[in-house]
């Protein structure tokens, strides 16, 4: 066998890429036994999958450099991103080293001078959007050591809204041999960049939560010290419209969201929203359904003012509401 066979070079490059990513791979132990993976995003921050964290407050983390404790500082159920702060690290430390600007996704920069050579650095920058067919490696960690699985980007779609109301920068589905220990693991591109976090999706799909989405959540936590949840204070229920009413209102959707309750002291109450108001539009866009409203409000920012057009007593009425923050205490 030739000493420098293509097969050996291929194998060496693959192993080198995983080696570079390894310091970023964390094992996360929730409670007594639940083990998943995480990404060392910054010196003080570890990213993992929010659903697997459940209601935990502290977790044990294992890295190349040893074991440490981390506090769960944010779990975003809408994007499945959980942020852990290494115990002892102060808020915002390492923020200057954050990917920040470099995490902006720029499409089309496909040319790549470094292709073929081992990556110089595992960075958090996202130089380009993933394409369908791209080769990726998912690097995670278990208590028995680091783990890696190679795979392919099976689907690379546009930005999408999760059913939980999360704004996700790119729809990524990965063809990899996934097992639960890879939940929350880093998805690495051939340049050595962390491009996404791997999480289980519906129908046994493996989804990638893009680095840009993670950076957006991290930036909010850096700014506020916690993750603020947008909040109006209205409970909505769908009403089914008959064809006559639909054409009278000029609506396509069969259902209309009706206010079924207004929380005391909430932004909605302060804006005089009332029980029975029927939601027609939000900032000029037709309010299609309860779910649609939930997604739009979830992706708004506290402090932002939105215009809600409602039908009250058969008459349209526009109400401006400043979105607040869901009470935490």
């Amino acid at each position: 066998m030739a000493a420098n066979s293509l097969l050996k070079q291929y194998s060496d490059e693959r192993a080198a890429l995983v080696q570079h990513a390894m310091p970023k791979a964390a094992a996360i132990i929730v409670g007594r036994r639940r083990a998943l993976s995480g990404i060392r995003w910054r010196d003080d921050l570890i990213i993992t999958a929010a659903e697997a964290i459940g209601g935990a407050e502290h977790v044990a983390v294992t890295l190349d450099s040893g074991e440490l404790e981390a506090n769960v500082i944010a779990t975003d159920l809408t994007t499945d991103i959980a942020i852990l702060r290494v115990a002892g690290a102060s808020a915002g430390s390492g923020a200057s080293a954050a990917a920040g600007k470099s995490a902006t996704v720029s499409a089309g920069a496909d040319n790549n001078a470094t292709a073929g050579s081992a990556p110089a650095n595992t960075s958090l920058a996202v130089p380009r959007l993933l394409r369908v067919g791209d080769t990726i490696v998912v690097v995670g960690r278990t208590l028995r050591g680091p783990t890696a699985i190679w795979g392919t980007v099976q689907l690379a779609g546009p930005a999408w809204n999760s059913r939980r109301g999360g704004k996700i920068d790119q729809r990524l589905e990965l063809d990899v041999g996934f097992d639960p220990s890879f939940e929350g693991a880093a998805v690495i591109d051939p340049d050595g960049n962390i491009v996404a976090m791997a999480v289980p999706g519906p129908y046994d799909r493996v989804l990638g939560i893009p680095a840009a989405t993670i950076e957006t959540v991290v930036a909010k936590v850096d700014q506020y010290g916690h993750l603020p949840r947008p909040y109006l204070g209205i409970r909505l229920q769908p009403l089914w419209l008959d064809d006559e009413t639909r054409s009278k209102l000029g609506r396509k959707a069969r259902a209309i969201a009706a206010v079924g309750g207004v929380d005391a002291g909430s932004p909605a109450e302060q804006a005089h929203m009332e029980l029975g108001d029927l939601l027609l539009t939000l900032d000029g866009h037709p309010a299609e359904s309860v779910n649609d409203m939930a997604c739009r409000i979830a992706s708004a920012t506290p402090g932002q003012t939105i215009a809600l057009e409602v039908l009250r007593g058969g008459r349209p009425l526009t109400i401006n509401v400043q979105i607040g923050e869901r009470p935490r205490h």
Partner: protein
């Protein structure tokens, strides 16, 4: 993020976890399905007695479910008993002898494998609390003239009470019939309050602090919430509650 777009399969949030030890795949799948339906997401599977021994060495987990057609589960049961674990035996047939043998070997519960998920969950909780759980039919074991035949084997082969666990003073019947189904029922105001805190990203302990209750109480309420909303994860519960008009935006 299984739940982001579709109802997920992976439940969350139950305090008790268990090891399912069996080489019988169809049996394993049936029991797993039932356990997942009952909210047990924290499950290990051991396919060989040696694997079970390893798992029991590695973890503090002590609830072990063994089963299949008797006497196949015996090897697993022996490993579990020797490791000081709390084994539950799920039997394929309703042979009283098998139940008696299993109990004599140190099983904490001997039940039919087709019991409803809710009863299985109740049995796991009872065994975890140190109780012994029997089928109602097994009452005969205790009362009949056959008592001697099924008397506990010598102490060295019988499970000593697991240290630090409460040992029941007497065997008990299975907990009362499954509670009335909660699916689809409206949330209580307390449950709504807790779910709103979940939606704001608060941990179980954080919720306990806010409401001045124990973390276990929070888990108990959340279990009821998940049940009512037919949800398996926090994200799914929040989304479903919003959809039903139970939780505000």
């Amino acid at each position: 993020m299984r739940g982001l777009a579709e109802p997920p399969n992976r439940p969350h949030g139950r305090p008790v976890s268990a090891i399912l030890a069996t080489a019988d795949e169809p049996f394993r799948n049936r029991v797993l399905e039932r356990l997942l339906a009952a909210g047990y997401d924290d499950l290990e599977v051991a396919e060989l007695p040696a694997a079970l021994a390893d798992l029991l060495r590695e973890s503090k987990q002590t609830l072990v479910i063994v089963g299949g057609t008797w006497p196949d589960p015996q090897a697993f049961l022996r490993v579990a008993v020797n490791a000081g674990a709390l084994p539950l035996v799920l039997l394929e047939s309703s042979a009283l002898e098998a139940e008696g043998e299993a109990l004599a070997m140190g099983a904490r519960a001997a039940l039919q494998s087709d019991i409803p998920a809710s009863s299985l969950a109740a049995a796991l909780a009872a065994v975890d609390a140190g109780l012994i759980v029997l089928e109602p039919s097994a009452r005969a074991l205790l009362l009949s003239a056959n008592r001697d035949r099924f008397a506990p084997a010598p102490a060295n082969s019988v499970a000593e009470p697991a240290p630090s666990r409460v040992e029941a003073s007497s065997p008990v019947e299975p907990p009362a019939a499954a509670p009335t189904p909660r699916k689809g029922r409206p949330l209580t105001s307390r449950e709504r309050e807790i779910l709103s805190l979940v939606a704001s990203g608060t941990s179980n302990k954080g919720i306990a602090r806010v409401l001045s209750v124990s973390a276990n109480t929070v888990k108990f309420h959340l279990a009821a919430v998940f049940d009512k909303l037919n949800a398996a994860t926090r994200a799914e519960a929040v989304a479903e509650a919003i959809r039903r008009g139970e939780l505000s935006l």
